[in-house]
Amino acid sequence: MRTATRAIRYLLGGGPTAIAALLALLAVATSAVLSLVGIGIPLLSWALSGVRSLAGAEQRRATRLLGPANSGRQPFDPVGSGREPSDPVGFERRWAPDRDRTGRPRLGMVLRDPGTCRDLLWLALHGTTGLPAAACCLALGLFAVAGLVTPLVWWIPPAEAPMTFVVPITDWPRALTLAPLVAIVSLAALRWAVPVAGVAVARAYHALLTPSVRSRLSARVAELTATRAGALDAHAAELRRIERDLHDGAQARLVAIAIQLAVAQRQRDAAPQIADQLVEKARAGVEDALAELHEVVRSVYPPILADRGLPGAIHALAAACPVPLTARIAPLDRLPAAVETAAYFVIAEALTNIAKHSAASRAGLWLTHENDRLVVRITDNGVGGADESRGTGLAGIRRRAAALDGYADVSSPPSGPTELRVELPCAS
C-alpha cells in the first residue's frame, strides 16, 4: 500500500516538474535559436545549467521512489572518480574547473559534456509524458471517488438531466453496479498498475540520467588521456626551459670563463696586469653562473622544500609574504615530491598574486589532506575581480593542478573576497 502511495505521489509530482520541463524546453529552444545571432550564448549556457539542476532534482526524486537498493545501481562510484554522493551526475565536479567569473559554466564545456545530451532527451521525454501521466493518475483518483459517491447521490439531479457515469445513471441497478465497478477498477489500477508504471518511469529516467558505467569509464579515460597529454606537454616544456636556461646561461658563462682563464694563463708573464683583470673577470663570471644555477635549481625543486618538507616551506613562504597571512596546516605525511612541488608553486604563485594585485590587508591559507587529496585553500579580503585572461598566474596554477589530475577553482567577485581552492590527488 505504501508503495502505491509513493508511486502516486511520484507521478502526481511529475506534473509540476513536467510543466517546468516544458518551460525549460522552450527556454533552451529560444536561446539556441538566439545563439545563432550571438546574444543567446550566455542564455543557452544558463538554460542548460537550469536543465541540469532540474534533471538532478528529478533524478533524486526517482532515486527516492526506487530506494538505493532498488535503483539497479550500487550507491558507490564504480569508476572511483571521487564524485560526491550529493552530485550523482558528476556535474559539479566536472564543470568546476571551467567557470566564468560569475561562477556559471562556460558554454563550450556544457556542450561537450555528454550529460547535456542525456539531459535534453530526458527533458523532451518528461515534458511530453509527465503531464499526461500525472493527469491519468489524477483521473483515476477522481473516478474512484466519483464511483463510490454516485450510488448515494444519483437520484438527486432531476430526471431530465441524469448523472452520467459512462452511461446515464437512471435507476438503482445501474447505480449499484456500474459506478462501483468503475470505482473498483480505478482503485485496482491505483493499487497495482500505477506503482508498476511509476517505477517503470522512475527506472527509465534514472537509466537515462545516470551515465552508464561504460560511458563513465570512457569519460574518465578521455579525461585521463587529456590530463596525461597535458602533463606530458607541461613536462616537455619544463625540460626545454631547464635545458635552455642551462645552455644559454650557466653553460655559456662557464665557457667564457674557461677562455678568460686560458688567455690569462698565456698572458701571465707577458702582461701580468691583463692576466689579473682576466682572472678577476673570470671570478665574477663564476659568481654569475652560480647565481643562474641557483635560479634553475630553485625552479626545479625548491631547496627549502627538500630541507623542511611542505609545512616548513609554506611557513617560509608565509614569512616572506608582505600581506599578513594566517596559515593552518594539518599534519601531513610526506607526500609524493611532484604533489609537494606543485602545492608549493601553487601557493607561492597565489601569495605573489595577493601581494601584487589584491590590495588585501589579510590572507588565510588552509592545507588539509582529505581522502587522499591535498586540498589548498587560500583566501584574501582584497578587491577581488581576479581575471584569468590578464596574467599567467592563475593559468599556471590550473596547469600545475591539471597535470596531476587535480583541479583549481577560483572565486573572485568584483568586490572580493577572492578564494582559490586547489585539489591535488596524491594516491601513489
Binding site: V297, D307, R308, P322, L325
Partner: protein, 215 residues
C-alpha cells in the same frame, strides 16, 4: 685563529682548508658530519666554526641544526654557516640562537676572499655577517615600517643588517661617518628601536624587528 670546518663535500672542504690556511688561519679540524662537528668543538675548542647547511645523512638542514645545537651547548661559540642558497627562515633562526657571533653566507661569497675573511673575523670577534641576498630579501619584502625610510636610509640599513661597521658603511656609500651615524639614528627612531652602539645588537634588533613584522 683556530677554525673548525664542517663540510661533507671533499672538494669544498679541501678548498676551504687551503684558503684559510694560506690566509693565516689554523684549521684544527675538517669534518663531514654533525656528530664529528660537535665532538671537534669539544676537543679542539676553536675560535670559530664554518658549517655547511646540508650534511649527511639526509642532506637537508642537519648542518644548521648542528650549528644551533652547538650554540646551545657552547654559548657564545661563533658560527659561520655557509649555504648553497639563502633562506631567510634560517637566518632568523641563527640570529635568534644567541647574541651575535653568527654569520650566514652564500657559498658563492667565499670566492670574494677578502670579504669572506672579513666576515669570518667579524663573526669570530662576536659580530654578525649576513649575506647581502638575505638582507635584500628582507629589505625588498615591502613591509610597511620600511616605507618610512628614505632610499639612503634603506641603503644604510641594508649594510647595517649585513653586519658592517659604520666606517665600512661610510666608505661604501662615500659619505662621512657622521652622516652614517645620523642616518642610523634616524632609522632607529623611525623603526622605534632604542639606539645602541654594539655591532651585532643592532643587527639582531633589525632582523628581529623585520621578522616580527610578518606576524
Amino acid at each position: 685563529m683556530r677554525v673548525v670546518i664542517v663540510e661533507d663535500n671533499v672538494l669544498l672542504q679541501e678548498g676551504l682548508s687551503l684558503l684559510l690556511s694560506t690566509s693565516g688561519f689554523e684549521v684544527t679540524a675538517a669534518v663531514g658530519t654533525a656528530d664529528d662537528f660537535l665532538a671537534a668543538i669539544d676537543q679542539r675548542q676553536p675560535d670559530i666554526a664554518v658549517v655547511d647547511v646540508r650534511l649527511p645523512p639526509t642532506f637537508r638542514d642537519e648542518g644548521l641544526r648542528a650549528a644551533l645545537t652547538a650554540r646551545r651547548q657552547f654559548p657564545g661559540l661563533p658560527v659561520l654557516v655557509l649555504s648553497q642558497y639563502v633562506e631567510r627562515t634560517y637566518a632568523a633562526e641563527l640570529v635568534a640562537s644567541g647574541q651575535g657571533a653568527v654569520g650566514y653566507l652564500l657559498k658563492d661569497r667565499v670566492s670574494r676572499v677578502d670579504e669572506f675573511l672579513d666576515a669570518l673575523r667579524r663573526v669570530a670577534a662576536g659580530g654578525t655577517a649576513m649575506d647581502p641576498q638575505v638582507v635584500a630579501q628582507l629589505v625588498t619584502a615591502g613591509r610597511n615600517p620600511l616605507d618610512r625610510l628614505s632610499p639612503r636610509e634603506r641603503e644604510v640599513l641594508a649594510l647595517m643588517a649585513e653586519g658592517q661597521a659604520n666606517t665600512t658603511i661610510a666608505r661604501r656609500l662615500v659619505v662621512t661617518e657622521r652622516a652614517v651615524s645620523k642616518h642610523i639614528g634616524n632609522i632607529f627612531s623611525k623603526l622605534d628601536l632604542p639606539p645602541t652602539d654594539s655591532g651585532h645588537r643592532r643587527v639582531t634588533a633589525v632582523l628581529t624587528y623585520l621578522n616580527a613584522g610578518t606576524g
